[in-house]
Symmetry: C2
Subunit: 203 residues, 2 copies
């Protein structure tokens, strides 16, 4: 019931794991290395996390929080015109990846996409958590599309499927950019996300 945690050990572990999982994948980062970087003993790690997977789940949650409270919240601000939200998101993703590359020397891509392709055939619990995040993201796209239709900015379409297509496109562009280690691809391909359209199924 404490508002302040008694120690910051757990959050130091999560912070150390976040950057490493993001830059080097899940399997390639050991608990020992995370502990060393967090200044924590291994036994202490297992006081907070029953297993490595549980750490990964916490890391995913933490990234999702950054995401929901950071530029994605800004992008999907309901006060913005709906289609501008999508432009804003693409822009933000571009600048974020660019900043990471400047600091880190590498385009690290989307942690959710990275983990999805790495673990989702082997761990249904992690897959479920990642899926939930994608589902949430999809609904943000859908809300924007629905509002755009209501406002007459775009013609009616299947907003649920189009939203999913847009999310897929964003992940795909980030994947391709990562293969080139070049965030500029996001700049060149990103705006085309608004050309995606899936019509309502008729009759």
């Amino acid at each position: 019931m404490n508002i302040n945690s008694p120690t910051d050990t757990r959050s130091r572990i999560v912070a150390a794991a976040k950057s490493r999982f993001h830059s080097r994948s899940y399997a390639n980062v050991g608990i020992q290395e995370i502990c060393e970087n967090a200044g924590v003993q291994k036994g202490s790690f297992y006081h907070f996390f029953p297993s490595k997977r549980d750490l990964a789940l916490a890391v995913i949650d933490d990234f999702a929080d950054d995401w929901a409270n950071g530029f994605v919240a800004e992008a999907f601000d309901p006060a913005l015109p709906p289609m501008e939200r999508i432009d804003y998101l693409i822009d933000a993703a571009y600048f974020w990846q660019k900043a990471i590359k400047e600091v880190h020397g590498r385009m690290l891509g989307c942690i959710f996409g990275n983990l999805t392709l790495e673990v989702s055939t082997q761990d249904d619990i992690m897959r479920a958590k990642l899926l939930a995040i994608f589902t949430l993201a999809k609904s943000r796209f859908k809300d924007a599309l629905d509002q755009a239709v209501v406002e007459g900015v775009i013609a009616p379409l299947d907003s649920a499927l189009t939203a999913e297509a847009m999310l897929a496109y964003l992940e795909g562009v980030i994947l391709l950019a990562k293969s080139q280690n070049d965030p500029e691809l996001l700049y060149r391909l990103g705006p085309a996300i608004k050309t995606l359209r899936i019509e309502l199924k008729s009759n």
Copy 2:
């Protein structure tokens, strides 16, 4: 100079590695396990491959061969009307993933996308090889688009960028489908690939 290889040891190793890397990622499959499955001793493995990474490169080449000689070659058959080639490719990807899931119980996704997100921040040689494969795929899309423009089937556009966008979209849809362990997403989202358009940069 032999046309027939003296033994099939090397190809058995590659075959065992292919299915495992595809279904469980690169880092999660050990050389020992591959050797056991191929009926090969570890020392024999290192007679054919200087390192695990070189095995991965061989596996990528082998997948790329399947790809170039299999359904992708069929899809991008120059005899087909250009936009039908793209439909065909989406269809083929859908049926392939569906078949894998029926046999394996899992949607394994695209091996090139999987490996890209897993290793491309850690191994520039593998990243370069994967990038070359994406570049080749991109050119197939571009050829189809160029021909479609020539035939007047579609309006002129930036075929290079649109081709890249289409490849990104395909990878993204496969990623999202993998997060749902459901190839049907490919069926629902795939056809929208043809709605992607990037205009020629004007002055």
